[in-house]
């Protein structure tokens, strides 16, 4: 039920948006998509745009996480896996 599908907004007309899901296009409810316009990436759930998807943020956060993983992996002491 909570499966959100990422897509890209092609057209916006009132409360309805045409969204491209990697080649498949569907009309979805855009009444709760404040500040979202054509060209934006979005997450659609049960036929409603629930949120914007920010691919750049995905890369930024991944970079930050990588630093943490690297730090934790390089800590001294006994790894203790066995």
């Amino acid at each position: 039920m909570c499966l959100g599908i990422p897509g890209r907004v092609i057209e916006l007309s009132g409360d309805v948006a045409l969204v491209d899901f990697l080649g498949i296009r569907r009309e979805v409810d855009a009444s709760m998509a404040e500040g979202i316009g054509p060209g934006d990436y979005v997450v659609v759930h049960a036929g409603v745009i629930i949120s914007k998807l920010d691919p750049e943020e995905a890369e930024r956060t991944l970079d930050a996480w990588r630093e943490m993983v690297e730090f934790l992996s390089s800590e001294g002491g006994d790894g203790g896996d066995g």
């Binding site: 709760m32 949120s51 956060t61 790894g79």
Partner: protein, 396 residues
């Protein structure tokens, strides 16, 4: 080579086995220290959402965890926890000639157990009653408006799905001939219920639901560290998202500083979808509601406000809230779905699992929905089967 779509690129990055391996390496390192700091042999982390359980099982993440980490499924399957009473009511309306529209997962859900007479919308339809599966509420509204047929929409789902119902209701876009059976439920109250009322080893971390949080905002989970001293991470649905969340929670446990982190910031903001929250608030009030096999949970459901009673199927057809008698016999004999839902039992702990209860012939509700923990384990192999195979092959 064509340019890669940013959507595909994010998917590729967050499914990279190299990245996942490096995070898993750090998890193996931190887990013993986290368990020691928490004073337990195994750190029990609960995923709330059925889609997280799918990610964990489908990608075999459970078998990558060190012995100090246990990942358990939580209550995040809205179809599994929808009381059978509402299925009975919808199937009965369909038999009376009212067209019933619903989402695919709810179509096969069983009603209140009555031996071989247990009802479902699929059964009603096989007998010729008007039942249709639709993709969205928008499709249901269009369908009802287009042909004028008296229709009821069985509206199941958590905060993620409630906006789909609230949208046409608050915009005055629901035609006269369409009403809703409102079975929407809220996720923070059942999480509190798990912490406070479910016996057994304590949950020490929560993989908070990403798409629920897209609506509620990550802030909705602040109560987990604040009131219970438990780490919580709002998490995306790719394998890398889940292992990062596990690592973050172990790190917090090791340091004894539980807090809320939003790992899924590419989709979830701190405050959530304000338009959706406004629409839900305008359309519905928060009420005590029944959860299948569990019972009433305080302030855990939504009901239409008086102002919108015209769209309320409960008003139009005189449906009532299920009584304690209804929910006390809401699961078939021997079915452990309620315990599975609350993280107190694994699907493989149930003697029915993959014997009388299979995805083709589901006996209990957790085997019906694609997101039910039993269905996920049946299709992708939970319960440590991958671990057993790996051990036999000398890989671990």
């Amino acid at each position: 080579m064509g340019e890669e779509s940013p959507i595909k690129r994010v998917e590729r990055l967050y499914r990279s086995s190299e990245e996942v391996r490096s995070v898993v390496g750090a998890i193996w390192k931190v887990a013993p220290q986290a368990a020691e700091a928490a004073g337990v042999d195994r750190v029990k982390i609960m995923d709330f959402c059925g889609t997280h359980e799918w990610t964990i099982t489908h990608f075999g993440l459970r078998s990558l965890m060190p012995p100090q980490v246990e990942l358990v499924a939580g209550p995040g399957c809205p179809v599994c926890i929808t009381p059978g009473y509402y299925v009975d009511a919808a199937a009965s309306l369909a038999r009376d000639g009212v067209r019933v529209l619903t989402y695919g997962d709810a179509y096969r859900l069983q009603g209140t157990p009555r031996g071989t007479e247990t009802d479902s919308l699929a059964r009603a339809r096989s007998e010729g009653a008007p039942v249709e599966v639709v993709y969205s509420v928008m499709d249901a509204v269009r369908r009802a408006r287009g042909d004028g047929v008296e229709s009821v929409f069985l509206a199941v789902g958590f905060e993620t799905t409630a906006p789909a119902t609230a949208s046409p209701v608050t915009r005055g876009a629901v035609p006269e001939n369409l009403t809703f059976i409102n079975v929407h439920r809220l996720t923070p109250p059942i999480t509190r219920y798990v912490f406070e009322r479910v016996p057994g080893a304590p949950i020490l971390g929560v993989i908070a639901p990403g798409h629920v949080s897209a609506i509620t905002g990550a802030a909705a989970w602040e109560f987990v560290p604040r009131d219970y001293g438990i780490p919580a991470v709002v998490t995306g649905f790719e394998p890398l998202d889940v292992v990062l969340a596990v690592l973050e929670m172990l790190r917090q446990l090791r340091e004894g500083r539980p807090r809320l982190v939003n790992e899924y910031s590419r989709v979830v903001s701190w405050e959530g979808n304000l338009a959706a929250k406004r629409a839900i608030e305008r359309c519905c009030e928060v009420v005590d509601s029944a959860w299948r096999g569990i019972g009433f949970v305080e302030e855990s459901g939504l009901a239409f406000r008086r102002e919108f009673s015209r769209v309320d199927a409960a008003e139009r057809y005189g449906l009532r809230e299920p009584s304690p008698e209804d929910w006390s016999r809401d699961l078939p004999p021997g079915c452990r779905c309620a315990e599975v839902t609350l993280g107190a039992a694994k699907p493989t702990d149930c003697p029915m699992f993959m014997k009388v209860c299979t995805p083709g012939t589901p006996y209990g509700p957790c085997m019906v929905s694609q997101e039910g923990a039993c269905s996920v384990w049946a299709r992708y192999g939970g319960g440590g089967r991958a671990e057993e195979v790996a051990r036999e092959l000398g890989l671990i």
